[in-house]
Subunit: 329 residues, 2 copies
């Protein structure tokens, strides 16, 4: 944080003295900058959403910080050790997964590097589908990891993440979040979160895996109605609970749970998550229809295999294992 | 081939008339170029290794083509339909796999695009190891594919390729080529070929898989002795058979077998290759030692599983399945 922009250093002073006015002259002496320069930095902060009173002869006083996911705003809530130690924040970008892949490919970005954006203009879902990411309304992030696991276990990563997010939403917002295999989280059959894990690997090892997570938090019913998507009905935490979520706090808490789960998964494997997955699974024990690349399969959902495949039992009593496909609601 | 360089158009004329001299004047009229320009193109061809007689007042006559893997030289032997339809030739580069990944990532390079180099300065093997690629002595290539198979089947690609190469070497050069799981081909316990499949994927699909194959053909015993490598003893077809291999013909024949095998694998799956793999496997039915990430395992090699894992039976009679590791010679 030493090389943070001057405006954030000024912000720190205002935050420390948020009960009183801090004079422009004092700030100007601290940073050896002109009063005009200080005024310009304050304007920058206002543009970023900080509400700052400025009263002639008294100085500046901060009233309110915006609910943005800048490192400045998020860092005081973060309790992770590895995740988000390296942090890349974007107001707007195409897709956090795409940027994360470029960073992972071209540098030795450490495990846990987080790319987060207030808005994605080309948010991605499975099978090249779109994920609509309204500005400042959700959490759209990608985490760069370098898991030392065989590639046949890679599909477990998605299931582990889905388990963590479903549990997180259920516990924090008291709504029945359910995992729709393989990578969606639903509340009342509507999609609140999508997960997209992309990786680069050879036969022996995963070079990197990008954990992409998009969660709808504060989208209103009106905003959700405007999302055109033929693949799912969207919802948000706010739409389901009437709670306006503090995104910074939500982000920091979620990231901590993700880090702990990821570390447990790498150290102890998938077994613990398998049971948890089945606890949060959508339609377990019920009749479901799955569309695969080549066929339509009906049966009772038993659970998942150790490899993350869906396990169904058909009317003929035979168990089927499905590696790739989609549950039809 | 219409946008081929002028020198290759001149070369075609010389090849068509290789029993006689073709006058510089005639060539100069055909291409509407000066005699000096033609002479310069001939010098270029000589630099590339073409032996061309030039006799005053008679003209030019080609004596011999170099054994290089340019599109010009390879195309008349190629019988593939998809593989090498797009062809990138390099005299020297770092690694064909690295370039192939860049091409696959940044463009819609079609399935079967081939990257080939006369020399790799940073040839890669498994686990970040080096693969020494002496200039004009072997085949060093990468094929861009976009297989529509689930990622848990990806390790089968390496095994399928190993099967094809082992059979190819055995049939064409009458030496006992054996597959050392997962990705090496040995002759008399020395390494003649390495395979490195790298891929980019998400949970559902492989974005691209790069099939990297390096085969030692014409390295002499002296050249092989100079290769410093602590991981394997190298050999070449020439070293084992005293045959100096026509690399162009070898390359074209191998590529045809690879294309047919790849198409069969995508259409019909791995089953046919599994049996063939076991036919060419090194040490099948014998006692072997495998180093894995975490342990050393001894047992009798039974074969491979459908997923491409090694199957061993220990002295206690229990079967072990190994997904990643290395057979110690």
């Amino acid at each position: 944080m030493n090389n943070q922009p001057v405006r954030y250093k000024i912000l720190s002073i205002l935050k420390e003295n948020n009960q009183i006015f801090t004079s422009g002259e004092e700030i100007s002496k601290t940073f050896n900058l002109s009063r005009t320069a200080i005024w310009k930095h304050i304007q920058e902060l206002k543009k970023e959403g900080y509400e700052i009173f400025s009263v002639p002869k008294k100085g500046y006083q901060i009233q309110k910080s915006p609910d943005v996911l800048t490192e400045e705003e998020v860092s005081r809530y973060l309790k992770t050790t590895d995740f988000a130690r390296d942090y890349c924040y974007y107001v707007s970008l195409g897709s956090t997964n795409t940027i994360a892949k470029q960073i992972a490919e071209s540098s030795n970005a450490p495990e846990g590097t987080v790319i987060v954006a207030e808005e994605q203009t080309e948010g991605k879902g499975r099978m090249g589908r779109q994920w609509v990411s309204l500005k400042n309304k959700g959490i759209y992030m990608s985490i760069i990891t370098r898991p030392k696991i065989p590639i046949n276990r890679a599909p477990q990563i998605t299931l582990m993440l889905a388990t963590v997010v479903a549990r997180f939403i259920s516990n924090h917002y008291h709504v029945p979040a359910k995992i729709k295999w393989p990578n969606d989280i639903l509340i009342h059959q509507k999609k609140v979160c999508g997960i997209l894990v992309e990786m680069s690997s050879d036969l022996d090892s995963i070079h990197y895996a990008i954990l992409g997570i998009g969660i709808n938090l504060n989208q209103t019913a009106g905003e959700l109605n405007m999302i055109e998507n033929q693949h799912y009905m969207p919802t948000s935490i706010r739409n389901e609970t009437d709670i306006v979520v503090n995104r910074r706090v939500c982000f920091a808490n979620l990231l901590l749970e993700l880090e702990r789960a990821y570390q447990a998964f790498i150290e102890n494997g998938f077994t613990a998550f398998k049971d948890l997955w089945e606890e949060y699974a959508y339609s377990i024990g019920k009749e479901i229809t799955v569309h695969t690349h080549s066929s339509i399969i009906q049966g009772t959902l038993l659970g998942i295999t150790d490899q993350g495949a869906l396990s169904l039992v058909g009317k003929d009593g035979e168990t089927q294992v499905i590696y790739s496909g989609e549950i039809v609601l």
